[in-house]
Symmetry: C2
Subunit: 272 residues, 2 copies
C-alpha cells in the first residue's frame, strides 16, 4: 500500500517551515501542502477563543486540499486547538508538535526536571505539562513564557546583545530550578538554539519539537503504510500557501526553511 497525496502542514506563519524542513530531510520523496496564516500571525498572545477560531479556519482549508495526514506545526495552535482540529479531520491521521517534543524530553531527563519555554498561549494551557504527565514517570515540569523570542527571530536578531539580554531575562529562573532538559516549545526558538545554549550552558539539553514531530510523522506514515512511492523531489512538488506576502519574506523563509521555496501562493482564509 502507498499514498502519494501530500502531507498537510498547518502553521500560524513561517515557523512551521522548520517542521517542513525536517520532513524533507527524513522523507525527500514526500510532498507537502503548507499553510501559514502570516496575515494574522503571531497567534501566541491571543485569547484561546481567537486562536481556536483562526486555527480551525486554516485547518479546514488544508483538509479540503485532499491530504493524507495533517501536522499541526505550531505549538500555540497545538496547545489550544488540537482537540477541536482532530474532531474536524475525522479519520485523517493528525499530530501536533507538543506530544513528540514531550516524549523526547521524558526519555532524556535524568534529574526528572524538564523546562519548557513557549508563547503566552502555549504556556497558559499547560499543554506540555499535561503531555509529559500523560507519558508517565515522576517528572516535574517548569513552564516559562518567553514571548519576545518570536519578534527577535522575526527581526533576524539571532545573535545580538538584545537577544542575549532577553535570553537571560527568561532563562535564568529556569536554571535555578535545576532542569536538565529544556523543550523549545515554539518553532521560532530553534533559530535561537545557540544563544539559548550559550545562556543555559551545555549541561542542559535543548529539545527542538520540529525534529521529533517529523520523526513521529514518519513513524505514523510507515505504520499506516501510506508513505509515498514516488521517486520525485518532494520539495519541488510541494505547495506553500500563505495569507500575506510580508516584508522580507524571502529572508524569513530561508531562515526557517534553510532554502527558498520553489513557489508561494496567497490565499484568503475566513474572509479575514
Amino acid at each position: 500500500m502507498s499514498d502519494n497525496r501530500p502531507i498537510g502542514i498547518l502553521d500560524s506563519g513561517l515557523g512551521g517551515l522548520t517542521v517542513a524542513r525536517e520532513i524533507f530531510r527524513l522523507m525527500p520523496h514526500e510532498k507537502i501542502i503548507y499553510l501559514g496564516d502570516n496575515a494574522r500571525a503571531p497567534y501566541g498572545h491571543r485569547s484561546e477563543d481567537v486562536i481556536r477560531k483562526f486555527g480551525l479556519q486554516c485547518a479546514k482549508h488544508l483538509i479540503d486540499q485532499d491530504i493524507k495526514m495533517l501536522i499541526v506545526a505550531c505549538n500555540t495552535i497545538t496547545s489550544v486547538a488540537l482537540e477541536q482540529i482532530e474532531e474536524c479531520v475525522r479519520d485523517l491521521p493528525s499530530i501536533g508538535v507538543v506530544l513528540p517534543g514531550a516524549r523526547a524530553a521524558v526519555l532524556r531527563t535524568a534529574e526528572k526536571k524538564i523546562g519548557v519555554i513557549g508563547t503566552k498561549a502555549t504556556i497558559r494551557t499547560g499543554a506540555y505539562t499535561k503531555a509529559i504527565q500523560s507519558i508517565g514517570g515522576d517528572i516535574r515540569v517548569f513552564e516559562r513564557e518567553s514571548p519576545l523570542f518570536v519578534p527577535l527571530v522575526e527581526e533576524g536578531l539571532l545573535d545580538r546583545d538584545v537577544t542575549r539580554s532577553a535570553a537571560q531575562h527568561y532563562l535564568y529562573e529556569l536554571l535555578d530550578l535545576g532542569v536538565d532538559c529544556m523543550i523549545l516549545g515554539c518553532s521560532h526558538y530553534s533559530l535561537l538554539m545557540e544563544v539559548i545554549q550559550g545562556t543555559v550552558g551545555t549541561r542542559i539539553q535543548l529539545l527542538d519539537s520540529a525534529l521529533w514531530t517529523a520523526k513521529e510523522a514518519q513513524d505514523i506514515l510507515t505504520a499506516l503504510k501510506i508513505l509515498s512511492v514516488s521517486k520525485g523531489d518532494g520539495k519541488a512538488e510541494s505547495r506553500f500557501l500563505f495569507t500575506d506576502k510580508i516584508d522580507q519574506m524571502e529572508r524569513k523563509v530561508s531562515q526557517f526553511f534553510g532554502s527558498q521555496l520553489t513557489s508561494a501562493e496567497y490565499v484568503i482564509i475566513g474572509d479575514m
Copy 2:
C-alpha cells in the same frame, strides 16, 4: 452649533488608548467610540495590502456607529491607509496621527534634522518624511524602524536591561546623524519615553504623536463648531470595542489609558 455624537477612534489594538486618554484630558465632556482590532494586532509587520484591508474593515465598522469625527490613532494604519479611509468617510472630518506629530516636530527642530522611529510598515511608507516635507522648510528626516519596541511594551518590560539594550540597538545610529527632535511614530513608544530619553540624552526632544493628535482634533471640532455641549463625564459615557479579549487585558489597558475602562464590548470584524 454643537454635536453631542461621539468621536470615533480607530486602532489596531490598545496603543490608540494613549490618544483617547489625551482626548479626555483636553475635552472631558466629549465621548468616544474606540475600536481596537487586537485579534489581528500588531499590524506593523504586515504587507500594505493586508493593513489596508484590515484598516478599512475597521474604519467602516466605526463609521457605521454615527460618529462626528474619525481619528485614526494608529501610526501604521495612518501611514498605509489614511487616503483610502478618507475616501470612505466622505464628508466626515477625519485625521491621522502622522501629520500632527510631523507639524510639532517641524516647529521644534533647530538643527533641521528630525528622527522618526516606528513600525516596519510605517517607516517603509516614508509617511513622516512626506508629511514633514509637505509642511515645508529645508529639513532632513531620518527614519528608523524599531519593531521590538511594540512587544517590549506589550510585555510590560518598560524599564529592563533587555529594553535598554533594544533602545541602544535602534537609537545610537540616529544619534550619530545629529537629529535634535525625535518623533515617536508608534503609539506604543510613548510608554518607553523614559528609556528612550535615557538612551538618547536630554539634548534630543521626544515628540509623542498622541498628544498632538488630540490637540488637532480639538482644533478641528472647535473650528467646525461641533464640540459637545453635554456636561457629562465623556469617559464614562464612551464605548470601547475590541476584537479579542486578550490575556492581561486590564494591565495593558491601564498601561495605555492610565485607568480601567468602564466597560468593554467584543465585536467581530470582517468575519475574521
